[in-house]
């Protein structure tokens, strides 16, 4: 990403102003105020049904809030044409089912769709870089139905990388990834933000959020309950209340990293192993 120019460094890329949204008279978002500035990786966390995905769709322009509005680079969402918006922000949705058996390389190349007039060389370079980001180079020629669920999730992520937008919105990108790819993905997004881009990521894993996000937004019942750096947003009492389950937050004794974990009652004594009928085991032996 290009270096930020001094004057616009602090101008927010995304801004949600007092947005509320109802589905069939049921409020799913209420009074949301959120600003995402260049250089920020923002994690959206909260229990199931808290409105995380809905908020992400509002940020992506898929849903229009009933009240309030959303601005991208200071312009109201309505005034953006899809083709314009596609050059500024990329979106990774939760489900990414592809209808026909396209190859991995073809799907990743679709990420370049907003950029008309790239040279062939440039296209190839961007595709192979994006494939490398998701460690898919060796699968480039494979058809999607032949891949596992986690590999398909990486294909979708790779497509978003190929799109090469400064604003990146991702809905549970790590859900079906193994630890290595979870870490790689968040590491790449963190460096994307550190280089001047910005990312909003819906995450369930609070430890991943704690490790990589600049800011964590805790949602509950369609409202923002906390918004701040991990150390302040991840408050044990708040989380316990929001998730309706006792949650502990500690620092790792060696690394000092924040560790979030559900508090479990002392493990119940293991059940006594069932008595093995003597004769049977003797007969097997």
């Amino acid at each position: 990403m290009g270096a930020r120019s001094e004057g616009t460094a602090q101008a927010p890329r995304l801004e949600v102003l007092d947005a509320s949204l109802n589905f069939d008279a049921v409020p799913v978002l209420s009074g949301i105020r959120l600003t995402v500035s260049p250089g920020e990786l923002v994690a959206l966390v909260g229990p199931n049904g808290a409105g995380k995905s809905t908020l992400l769709h509002v940020l992506a322009g898929d849903l229009t809030p009933d009240t309030g509005h959303v601005e991208v680079d200071g312009r109201v969402m309505r005034s953006w044409r899809p083709a314009e918006l596609a050059q500024v922000r990329a979106v990774l949705t939760q489900a990414n089912e592809v209808s026909f058996s396209f190859s991995v390389a073809e799907v990743v190349a679709m990420g370049l769709a907003p950029w008309i007039g790239l040279s062939e060389h440039e296209e190839e370079a961007r595709i192979s870089a994006a494939l490398g980001d998701a460690e898919l180079s060796h699968l480039a020629a494979r058809r999607l139905p032949e891949l596992s669920g986690g590999e398909r999730a990486r294909v979708a992520y790779s497509r978003v990388r190929a799109q090469g937008c400064e604003i990146v919105l991702l809905d549970e990108p790590t859900a079906s990834l193994d630890i290595r790819h979870q870490e790689r993905l968040l590491g790449q997004l963190r460096s994307h933000a550190d280089a001047g881009g910005c990312a909003v990521i819906v995450l369930h894993d609070l430890n991943l959020a704690a490790a990589y996000a600049h800011r964590i937004v805790v949602l509950d019942g369609g409202r923002i309950r906390a918004d701040g750096p991990p150390a302040t947003a991840l408050d044990a009492a708040l989380l316990s209340d929001v998730y309706r389950h006792p949650i502990g937050v500690e620092r790792h004794p060696a690394s000092g990293a924040l560790l979030v974990h559900p508090v479990r009652r002392a493990a119940p004594a293991p059940p006594p192993s069932p008595p093995v009928p003597h004769q049977e085991s003797a007969a097997r032996a």
Partner: protein, 387 residues
């Protein structure tokens, strides 16, 4: 964008020691462009050969050299007509039978061209419909678009409309097909996607209503009109005339050209409607354009040849297996494949039983029905349910 990650040596060693499991490389993916050219060339050669063979077969057999000779004579006349005197195509042989030339030019050639053009229209209509529905089972015949178009055409016959001249039937077929396509599209979709089962049930409903309309038209028709309607329902290329061909060719060419313009957006729609929009596709506009194209392509074919089902299902599927699902290659190749399939089917229709012209729609359904069944089973197995 990419962060150059500095990895601890231990991790690097680990990666080097455990390379990614590379599964058997699949040869068919290696040179997709070469493969596309091979398939296109093969289809084109097969089409030309079959067209010539087909022109020679029938109640009055005409040997191939005589067909070539007849083509050369007429081409030379055209060349002379436009004042190109220096260029002449050598005439290998002149048709021997007194009626051979007339048979070729008045009956067989228009029918052959008609078969190719209609086959191309139906196949491309299928491709566009499958692309916009994101579903390989969507086909104009199956979901009732052809029936809607046939209803429009039979209404013209019974009501005796002629106010648009020879275009009256195609225009009414277009309106009927368009109405059916919109109906299917907006009722079969829920939550931005089309479930197979909803699509099929909607198709049953649309087919039933259009069938009722056609039945009423049949009831209200005179004996002669009734025969025309039955012809529509069975589908046939019998009696194709040049004047019909000149109506279908521009409609089909326009439809295919329009589909090519949509090819990129149809590819992106495979990712999902939201995902396509995120990549800059104006989804609403694409949808409307696709529906109009489906109606244009289907109606042009149905208005002049009746309901010929399953071409739009079988051909795109086979082409996807051959060259992959990318629409820029799929559309032109399906046009070629559809032309070839319908040309072959029509050859069987008019030569299988001496002195009889079998209904073309019957033949395509005979092959297409079991194929459709197999496709349903396969789709069901692969997506683990009626998704």
């Amino acid at each position: 964008m990419t962060a150059l990650e500095t990895k601890p040596p231990a991790l690097q060693a680990l990666e080097a020691a455990a390379p990614h499991p590379t599964r058997r490389p699949n040869a068919r993916h290696r040179h997709p462009a070469a493969r596309r050219h091979l398939v296109a060339g093969g289809l084109l050669v097969a089409l030309v050969v079959l067209a010539i063979v087909s022109a020679g077969l029938g109640q009055l057999p005409v040997p191939v050299p005589e067909i070539a000779g007849s083509l050369a004579i007429h081409l030379n006349e055209v060349l002379a007509g436009v004042g190109i005197d220096w260029l002449r195509v050598p005439v290998l042989a002149t048709p021997q039978h007194p009626n051979a030339d007339a048979t070729l030019w008045a009956i067989r050639f228009p029918r052959i061209v008609m078969a190719i053009v209609v086959g191309a229209a139906l196949a491309v209509g299928g491709v566009v419909m499958q692309g916009i529905f994101r579903n390989p089972l969507a086909e104009p015949g199956v979901v009732g678009v052809s029936a809607g178009a046939a209803l429009g055409a039979s209404a013209v016959i019974v009501l005796g409309f002629t106010f648009l001249g020879t275009l009256t039937a195609p225009v009414f077929a277009f309106v009927g097909g368009l109405a059916a396509t919109f109906l299917v599209y907006f009722t079969a979709r829920s939550g931005r996607r089309t479930e197979v089962v909803t699509l099929m049930l909607t198709g049953i409903a649309v087919n039933a209503v259009a069938g009722a309309g056609i039945a009423f038209m049949t009831f209200a028709a005179t004996t002669q009109q009734r025969e025309q309607i039955v012809f529509w329902q069975l589908g046939s290329l019998n009696g194709s005339r040049w004047q019909d061909v000149w109506i279908v060719i521009p409609i089909t060419l326009a439809g295919i050209a329009g589909s090519m313009l949509l090819a990129r957006n149809l590819d992106l729609l495979a990712l999902g409607e939201r995902q396509a929009q995120h990549l800059g596709v104006p989804v609403e506009a694409t949808r409307i354009a696709a529906i109009v194209l489906i109606a244009v392509l289907t109606a042009g074919a149905v208005a002049l040849c009746g309901i010929v089902a399953f071409v739009g299902l079988v051909v795109p599927h086979l082409m996807r297996m051959a060259v992959g699902p990318g629409h820029r290659a799929l559309i032109p190749l399906s046009a070629l494949g559809g032309g070839l399939l319908l040309l072959a089917a029509d050859l069987v229709a008019r030569t299988a039983v001496p002195y009889a012209d079998l209904p073309l729609g019957m033949l395509t359904a005979l092959v297409g029905g079991p194929f459709f069944f197999w496709l349903i089973r396969r789709t069901r197995r692969r997506s683990g349910g009626w998704a």
